[in-house]
Structure formats: C-alpha cells, structure tokens
C-alpha cells in the first residue's frame, strides 16, 4: 500500500472506477489487473436517513448551557455539554413540517446560507443565560462534524405494494397492485460489495464523504455482514463538503432525509481483491419486498439483481412492472470519478485500517415488554355466517335474535364473499326493491387476520369508516369478528380502576 501511496504522490497512480473494473479483469485477467491497476474507486449517492451533525456553537456572553435548540425551527438535541448540539437528518421542522428538516439545514449550511439558531438554557451559577437567538453561517461554528451512524448499506431490499391503495414510504411512492418497484443502492459501484470481506475497509479508512475527506469510524448500526447487509459508521468535516454531494430531500408523508455521496477507494493489492472489485450489477442480489404488509417482517415477492432493477422493468407474477431508483446512479458515478480525480491529483492518500470491521453483526427486533395485543386476543370467536341465497327477512331475523349487527356471507366452501349489516337490511326494506341478500351485500369486504396487531386493525376500521372486520384464516374462512365495540370495551376496561 505504501507503494501505491508513493505513486499517488508522484502522480503515476493508475485509477479506475468499480464500473470499469469488470471489463479490465475480463481483458487482462486478475493477474494483469493487479499489474495495471492501483486503485478502484467506488461511489454511492442515496437517501441515508441515519445521518446527522455535531455542532459546537461557541460560548455566548454571558454563557448559556443549552438544553433545547432549533436551527431554522428544526430541533437539535441539546443534552450534550453546554454548546454542543446534534442535529438529526430526519428531524422535521416545526413550521414547515416534512418539507424542511435537519437534512435541509445541513444543505443550507454547506451552500453558505445563514441559519437561525434559537436556544433555551438551564440557568446555573456558571451559565446564567436562559435564552439565545442568533444567525449563523457554517464558518461561524467552531466545529461542524457529520457523524452518520448507518450509511452505505451493502445492499437494500427493493419495495413494491400489493394493496389497493398508494403507499407513501421512505422507499418513495408505491403504486397499488404491484404498480411499480422502487429500489436503492449503487449496484456494482457501491463500496461494500467491492470489498465484502473487509480486506481493506476498516476502522480509520479514509473515504470521500459529500465532497470532503472523511473516515470510516466503525461498522454502522444494524451491521449484519453475515446476511449481506453490512453498514458503515462514518464521519467527516461539514466545512469541506459540497452541496453537489449532500442534499436535503423529502419523502412524501414520511419525512425529510439526507442524500449522502460516499465513496471508498480500494487498493488492488492482490488477485483476490482484483476479483472482488470486478463485481457486476448482475452479481449483486436483493429481494423485492411487499410494503403493503405493515409488519417488521415484510414478505419477499421475489429475488432480483441490480442489473434487472437498472433495466427499468422486472417481472412479478407474469406482469411487467416498472422499476425506478431513489438513489442516483448519475451522482454515484460523479462520486467515483471525483474520488479518482483527487487520487490522481495526489490529494487523497490511502490509509491502513487500525482494525477490520466486524464480520458478524446484529439486527434483532426490539424486545417488547409491554402488552402487545393481536386481533386474535380480542375478537369474538362465535360468528354467525349466512349463505347468499337467504332472504332479507331471514337475515333480519338473525340480527334481531342475535347479539351482532354484522353478518358475514360465505360461499358453499365457507369462504368469505360478502357482508351484510343491520343498516344494509333497513335500507333494503325501506326501498322495497331487493329481496335476497346477494343483491345488496357488500362484496368488497375489508378483513383482518388473527395475528395482526390490534392497533393496525383499529386503524383500518377508522380509515375506512367501518364498524366491523371479519377475521379470516389463510383460506379466507371466517374464524372471528372484530368490531368497534371490542375496542371501546377494551379501552374502557383499561381505564377503569
């Protein structure tokens, strides 16, 4: 590696991007590539929510011990010493909501714009001041250090939506009925897929971060390399950064996020590294998962590689579905080429890591110690179902004689095909036009499953303005009923002593 740094200093270094490397290895073989190439540059530019900024404002006169602070009405965490703040990228502003957030403050600072600082202090003998308001530019801060707990995912699951309604997610707008697929990641240009065994990447590795030079300070949060989901924790000086590679963004009905440009140079030290840096888009696989299922473990629809995602169309169950990215391949290429240029100019030297990244990580679900109710815990299991051939009179008699207002209608094989309510029956009787429930039942019935969290089912009732959900098993057979009565009883019982 010192030989490569020597060549960087004397300007004779040979650099290619990770997109060019596969072709070189095809042509020259891995041995030839080791002889001809010193460094492979990688790059990615995408939404990285787990990003933020440590700021030191400097002391005021009289001094203040800041407890709460806002930058352009975006709250920054003030519980660190007196004038250190941490601004999170996804924090929305108090006046403009999701359209402006911590990420946008960072972009404004990098672009040289002023931001309004408003702070409240806790009065002590050493910090007598209680409030501070001032206007600051990036240069006015003593330090502005970006520290991102989780960046540069090795790969990320692509998203689609099986439901009947459009979803607005951190993976963008997902159209109903598998209307599109949204993905993120830079494929073969992504840093970690080019060094998946951390032969070079480690603690202390110098990287390109948003136009400046930063460091990898460890593995990121949720780092799970054993499953192909390694992440990086990185830091860099905001004062060196450039808004071409750092952008505030807003995901509709989700919130702000930060687009981070990150590139890692990888020295071609041996044939093993040459082979790994020759990775292609088609070699990097991920899953398309269904964001229509509002649970932690969203089901996978199919496996897919980045070459297919980049093609613009993938096949889901025999239909062609359009794909589009949230991360920018265009800017990812600019990251890799800007990094290549600064290496060629002798401005960017490679560093040996002080220790490698961990080969094993952890991303477990949270331990939930408080009561967490499922639909199955609350629903009533005694359900009276009817067949669609019965008359309105019979249905009315069943409702009057029973303790329920909803009649699920089932087919001969007991599958749910519709629903009739007491209101439907009154309406039919009043209009005197229909005689059988098949003519007036609701056929598009919203359903719940027994293992669905109660909160989600309650939201379904509220969202669709309905008062009951039939609970069905995987064969669509009615096994219970959840009504708004169940919810009000549950709430009433909890509140009473």
């Amino acid at each position: 590696m010192s030989e490569i740094n020597e060549r960087i200093r004397d300007g004779s270094v040979r650099v290619v991007t990770a997109e060019e490397m596969p072709y070189l290895v095809d042509e020259l073989g891995t041995g030839g590539a080791v002889r001809e190439v010193d460094v492979v540059t990688t790059g990615t530019f995408g939404a990285m929510c787990s990003s933020g900024l440590f700021l030191n404002t400097g002391h005021s006169d009289p001094p203040i011990k800041i407890s709460k602070a806002w930058l352009n009405n975006v709250e920054a965490y003030g519980g660190i010493a007196a004038v250190d703040l941490f601004l999170g990228a996804t924090q929305p502003s108090e006046d403009r909501g999701n359209e402006y957030g911590g990420a946008h403050v960072m972009e404004d600072l990098v672009s040289g714009r002023e931001v309004e600082l408003r702070a409240q202090g806790v009065v002590t003998d050493c910090y007598p001041r209680s409030e501070l308001e001032t206007t600051l530019r990036l240069d006015d801060f003593n330090q502005a250090i970006m520290v991102n707990p989780r960046n540069a995912y090795q790969r990320y699951a692509a998203a689609t939506n099986s439901t009947e309604r459009t979803l607005h997610t951190y993976m963008g707008t997902l159209l109903p009925r598998y209307g599109n697929v949204s993905y993120s990641g830079a494929g073969s240009l992504s840093p970690i897929p080019n060094d998946p065994d951390f032969e070079y990447i480690g603690v202390g590795t110098r990287i390109f971060l948003c136009g400046g030079q930063g460091q990898i300070i460890g593995s990121g949060t949720q780092h799970l390399p054993q499953n192909g989901f390694a992440t990086l924790m990185v830091k860099g000086d905001l004062k060196e950064m450039n808004s071409e590679f750092l952008r505030g963004a807003t995901f509709q009905d989700y919130g702000p996020s930060l687009y981070v440009g990150l590139g890692v140079p990888i020295p071609v030290l041996n044939e093993g590294i040459a082979k790994k840096t020759a990775v292609r888009d088609a070699d990097i696989e991920t899953e398309i998962v269904d964001y229509g299922v509002p649970r932690r473990a969203r089901p996978a629809v199919r496996r897919v590689n980045y070459e297919e995602l980049y093609s613009g169309v993938v096949d889901i169950d025999g239909s062609e579905v359009k794909t589009s990215a949230l991360s920018s391949r265009h800017v990812a290429r600019k990251v890799a080429s800007a990094l290549s240029d600064s290496i060629r100019r002798g401005e960017f030297l490679l560093t040996a890591a002080s220790e490698p990244l961990s080969r094993v990580g952890r991303n477990s679900p949270v331990r939930q110690t408080k009561e967490f109710l499922l639909v199955g815990d609350v629903m009533s299991c005694e359900v009276v179902t009817v067949r669609e051939e019965i008359s309105i009179k019979e249905a009315a008699r069943m409702i009057v004689g029973g303790t329920f207002d909803h009649l699920p209608v089932v087919s001969a094989d007991e599958r749910l095909i519709g629903m009739v309510t007491a209101w439907d029956i009154s309406k039919a009787v009043a209009s005197d036009k229909t005689s059988h429930i098949s003519e007036m039942m609701t056929r598009k019935v919203f359903i719940a499953s027994p293992d669905e969290p109660l909160e989600l089912a309650a939201r379904k009732l509220h969202h669709h303005r309905i008062s009951a959900l039939p609970v069905v098993d995987k064969d669509h057979r009615v096994i219970g009923m959840l009504t708004s009565d169940h919810l009000s009883r549950l709430y009433g019982r909890r509140r009473s002593p």
Binding site: F45, G46, A47, E99, H168, G172, T173, L175, G179, N180, V181, S182, R247, A249, T250, F251, Q252, S257, Y259, G312, K322, T323, S324, A325, L326, S327, S328, R329, H330, V331, R333
Partner: protein, 128 residues
Amino acid sequence: MKLMLHVSPGIVRKPIVSSVILETKALINIERAKVDAVSGEIVVDVDLDKCSEVKRAFEDRGVRVVLLENPIIKDDDECVHCGACISICPTGTFRFEGSEVVADAGRCVQCASCITACPQRALRLVLK
C-alpha cells in the same frame, strides 16, 4: 398534442366530448378527467393535424382550452437524476438517457403524481 379542457358549471352536464368527436370526426383520446357536480377538467390527446379544429369546436361550446405545450418543468439544479419520477408516471413522461433523467413534456397529462414523488422537489406543473 394534448389539450386541457376547463369545463364550466353551466355546460358540465352536456355530452361535449361526444359532440365534438361527431362534428370533427377526430380521434380523441381522454388521458385524464376529473368531473364533479359543478365543473370539469379534462385532458385529451388529439392528432396534430386535427388539433386547431378540435380546439375551435370545444371553444364554440364554451369550453376554455389550453394547449399543454410545456405542462411540466424540471429544475435541473435540484434534480439529482434518481429516477423516482419514472415508474410512477402513467404516461411515461420521464426516462433515463444514459444515467440522466430527461422529460418528454409532451406526454405529461398533469396528473401531479410526480410532484410529491420527487424527493428533491424538482418538478413543477405549469398551470394555466
């Protein structure tokens, strides 16, 4: 060419599109329509050679017609070429040329899906 038809309250219940088709014998494709109790906003696509005749026929019936020559504007300083607009557009207005997103504004029917889907807020409808 795409035309935006603004249909005012007095005439919104009349079969205007059908009568224009019968009169002009033009093939009119309805790209998007929003008609409620009091007014309507309809985007139609017409062959270029029939365009002025169809426009006049609608105007004769009291419809305000706007040619959608440049229905959407992309701010190239804000756009980072991610492509989030591509898959959600029903008419295929956006596509990649190399790694850059380009817009074929002539296809846009101003449905506005892309406006909120763009994380950089780089897209704007030109409303007339």
